[in-house]
Every structure is written in C-alpha cells, then in structure tokens.
Symmetry: C2
C-alpha cells in the first residue's frame, strides 16, 4: 500500500485549498456543503453474486456514512453508472439506489452514464452532498482527555462477508448488514455539535481509530472488551479475544467514532432511541498512535488493523515498519 | 441505446428535485454551485495508448466544459482514481490532472482512490464544482427567433482520434485536440448572462443541437457551410460536404453552443480576444428537431448525429423512428 500512500502524499501537497480539509477527512467542505465521493468496484467492494439492489443501496449508504460522520443533512447525489449490458442488473441496481435515496431523503440531482468494455468489472460511483451544521467535526479534532464513543456495532459486516465467501447463498442478519449498511445520520447530527473529532468506521475500527489518533496528535487507548457486538455476531463467532479482534479489524461497519470531552454524556444528547452507543476508549497525550487493552492489561496490536482499500484519507499504517 | 434512454427516463421520474434541472442539463445547481460528474473509461473514452498525462488533462477538461456551458467559475474537484498497479501511469495521470487544475484554477478538494481487479480497464471519475453567475442558462432555454452561435471549431478531435486509430504514434494539432481539449470557460462566462440557452458540444454538434432544440421546444436550423473548421482540420480532411458532416457529428469537441436573442452581437461581449465564434443557425417555431442546410438548400440529416456515450442528458435521437 506504499503506492496509495505515495499518491495521497502527492495529492495532499497539491490540495492546499481549505475546502480540501488536507484530504484527511473523507469529505470536502465548500460554502456550507459537505461533499464526498466514493466509488465501488465489482470484485473489490462487492461480490458479483450480490443482489444488484443491495449494491445500489450500499453505494448510497457508504457515501451517506461520510455525511453522517460530519453531522450533515443529505441534500443531493450525483450517480456515476456504468452500463455493461445486463438490463436486469441495472434495473435492480437502480431500485436499490432509489430505495436508499428515499429512505434517507437524498434527492438524485445528476450524474453520468457510461458504457464499459465487454466483460469489464462494474465500477459505480456516487457523489453525495449534505448541508453542514454549525460545527463540522474533523477527524483530527480529538484532544487529550477525550473519551472515544462508538455508534453501532462492529464485525457484523465482515462476518456476513465471510459467510458469503463460504457460500454465496448465505442469508441472515450478518449478510444483511454487509449488503445493506445503515448510515448513522441522526446520531451523527446529534453528536456533531459536541464532538471534538468524528469519523465513520469503514476500514476497520483499529485502523480508523489510529487515523483519528494520528490526525489528532494523540495516543488512542481502545478497550477491546468494550467494543459493542451484536447478538447475531456473537451467535456466529462467539465472544472471545479472537472474535473481538476480528470485529475490530473487519471493516465495512459504517459505525461512527466520536471523540467527546469527558464531561459529555451522550445519553443526554438527542440520539435516536434505538441507538447503540458505547464508550470504547480515550485519547491521551503521548506519541500519536493506538494501544489496545483487554481485561485491564495492554495487549499486542494485530498485524493488520483494517483494510486500506479506499478513501483519500490518511493511511498512517503504511508508515509502520 | 434504448437501454440508456430507459435508464434516463427512470432516473428522471425519480430526480424531481429542482437542483436536478430535470437531469437534462448535464449539471446540478445547488446553493449557487454548479456540480457535474463525468467518468471516463479506458477503451471507451480514451485509448490504452494515450499518454496518461493527457488522460488526466482530458478528465478535468471534459468536466470543466460542463461548467463553461453554464458560465460557472471553477471552485473545486473531487477525483475518483482507480489504482491498477502501474505506478508510472498513475504518476503521469496525476501530472495531467495537476496541470489542468492549475491551468484553470480548479482546486482539488477531495475524492477517493480504489483498487481494481487485475486487468480491469481503468475507470476514472471527476466531480467538478463551480460557482454560478447570476443567470445559469439551461440547454432548454432557447426561444424561437434566437440565433445559434458556436464557440470553438468542430471535428479536430474526431479527426485526431481517426489518425490515432490508424497509427497510435500519430502526432500533431488534431491529436493534441483529441487528447487535450480546451474548456471554453472565459467565453462561457461572457456569454452566459446573455444566453437564453447554452450547452457544451461533446457528443457531436448535430446530436447536441437536436437536444437543445428538443429541450427548448424549437426547430433548429443549422447551416453546414457556417460551421467553423480549423486550418489543421481542412489540411487533413479538406473542406467538403463530407468533411463538414464528419465535423458536425464527430464529437469530443468541447465547443459551446449558445442560443442568443437575435439583437445580441457577441463581438460586443467581453469574449477573450482569441475566441473563435461563428453564427451557425437559428431556433424557430415549429416541430422540435433539427434541420440542416447547405448552399441555401435543405439537405438530408446523416443517419448518425453523434455519440450517445455519456451524460445523464436528454437523448432525443433514441426517439427517432
């Protein structure tokens, strides 16, 4: 992944406009609008066997998750659709796009349709635009002494993907989370005014938390035992150190990670009633990076903290020896 | 292309937000910002043998051409970059992106990098954002009695592509235009306040003029003899009815087509001094569509008016029997 880091370093030297937020926040901020773009590719971000409608849903949801992490309200989307000649696939894909857009009040306002060469993997992009609130928390805004909170559960999507890799006909709640992630828009809006730092967890909690720590110039401490797991995840993989490390590195969670001043109690904020939110650690003064504890004892970080597969975002793990 | 039209019809029923401009203007307009997205694919919009830097330039230029057609001033871009493992190609591509961004004062403010499966054709996208002026001409704003003006010359790019198809080592001004089109930003800003309708010519003049005519509910009359050809084009292909029809349908021109009230003389507007602008026809009351004249006589339309290869834009020719 040194190559991706080289590219990012180069782009960052060039992207000096304040709207770029140093290309380290997954979004741009221009005239009060939050703008983000995510592209997904067949065989990389989704499986050829995934239902097309769920691919459409996921494309919208992963972009909305970036808006959620900035506390933004969806305002419009531009779709980049590649047409490969499978009419039914494309019709179903659009059904998923429309369902997600309607669910989250995201109007489709433009885009592009292009042909691809025969047999090329599908590549689908979406630019999502949201209206920013008064405070747009940067991932690098965390401060020593902040508590780290996680909205959502971890590992469901990675467990669902593992089931699908074993058997593409797999079904159930874990597969559903992999295919149809839920962007935490309301929780994001409730937390944003109070968050020093916030980002979505898309590439694995440990990787994303390390990015927040690096960008904030803090040492992050994560309590493995505090990570929220769903009943479906525990049913499938148990609740052990191994399963928790799997959940902490699996990626595709679209949870939110927020750094809040220690005096803030999220239960006093106007979070949706069904929100799963857990205190999972803290930011502290010290060498920027991440440390992990379990049972009150430091434990070794896994070799792979997550997936560096997308995003014009900091990739500090590429710096590790 | 019925399939693409079906998709557009479906999206248009769904994209009812005013910012979408009925998905018939190549751009969205939100909070005074013009937003457009164009994706280009290897083997469809550029050749594998094209220098990577020119591919980067072209990706920026084709998006800026959409901003030019709305009279917008570039404000920011989000790049969607697929990484395929050829470091030199990607470095050169970014050199082209940076050159175009610097030439047209377009800050890079965000985006996404993703991996593609081994051997997949490159797919590269850009979302360009510009600040709108007081009047944003819609392509459908033309009125009966308007004169049609073209900024730029026609056919150079298509002639350059034909040379490259014969011999990938071809060079010269026509190849340069194919590889490094020039967005007409200043001319677009000068014309926009006065234009009833405006659009860029990317898919072939006859096709794009027919789209303007349909969207404006007017009959367009185009004088084949009035179409501006460059000396390089005439050197290569001569000045005949055949070469003019080639130029009128070739596409990839990134010229501007403007419908102006007949009393407006563009030479009195603040166009850049080197601007090539020609009066090429008129809009009139009557059945929406396009007619062609040469030597003062009506001539038959060619069977293919242009390339319906991209854009969430009206594709009225698919309606033709």
């Amino acid at each position: 992944m040194a190559r991706e880091r080289d590219i990012l370093d180069r782009l960052r030297r060039f992207a000096t406009d304040p709207a770029a937020r140093e290309l380290s926040d997954d979004v741009a901020l221009l005239d009060g609008l939050i703008i983000t773009h995510d592209t997904i590719a067949e065989g990389v971000h989704f499986l050829s066997s995934d239902p097309a409608a769920s691919v459409g849903w996921k494309l919208v949801a992963v972009n909305l998750s970036d808006l959620a992490a900035k506390g933004a309200t969806p305002r419009g989307a531009l779709l980049s659709l590649t047409i490969t000649g499978d009419d039914q696939w494309e019709a179903d894909f659009l059904t998923g796009i429309e369902a997600a857009c309607e669910s989250y009040a995201l109007p489709l306002i433009g885009g592009d349709t292009i042909a691809l060469p025969q047999g090329a993997p599908r590549v689908l992009g979406l630019t999502a635009i949201g209206r920013a609130g008064a405070h747009v928390p940067h991932r690098g805004g965390g401060q020593p002494g902040d508590t780290l909170w996680l909205v959502g559960t971890l590992g469901d999507s990675a467990a669902g993907l593992a089931l699908l890799r074993d058997d593409p006909r797999s079904a159930g709640p874990l597969v559903d989370v992999f295919r149809r992630p839920i962007p935490q828009l309301e929780a994001g809006r409730a937390l944003a005014p109070h968050a020093h730092g916030m980002m979505d967890v898309s590439d694995g909690l440990l990787l994303d938390a390390s990015r927040m720590a690096e960008a904030s110039g803090c040492a992050a401490l994560i309590d493995l035992d505090a990570l929220p797991l769903s009943p479906a995840f525990i049913d499938a993989r148990g609740d052990s150190r191994g399963s928790r490390l799997f959940a902490a590195t699996g990626g595709d969670d679209y949870a939110l990670l927020a750094a809040l001043a220690p005096e803030i109690d999220p239960s006093t904020l106007s979070l949706p009633s069904e929100t799963t939110i857990a205190r999972i650690g803290s930011l502290n003064a010290g060498e920027p990076g991440i440390r992990l504890v379990s049972g009150g004892q430091p434990i070794e970080l896994p070799e792979i903290l997550g997936h560096e597969h997308h995003g014009l975002s900091a990739a500090p793990m590429a710096d590790r020896p």
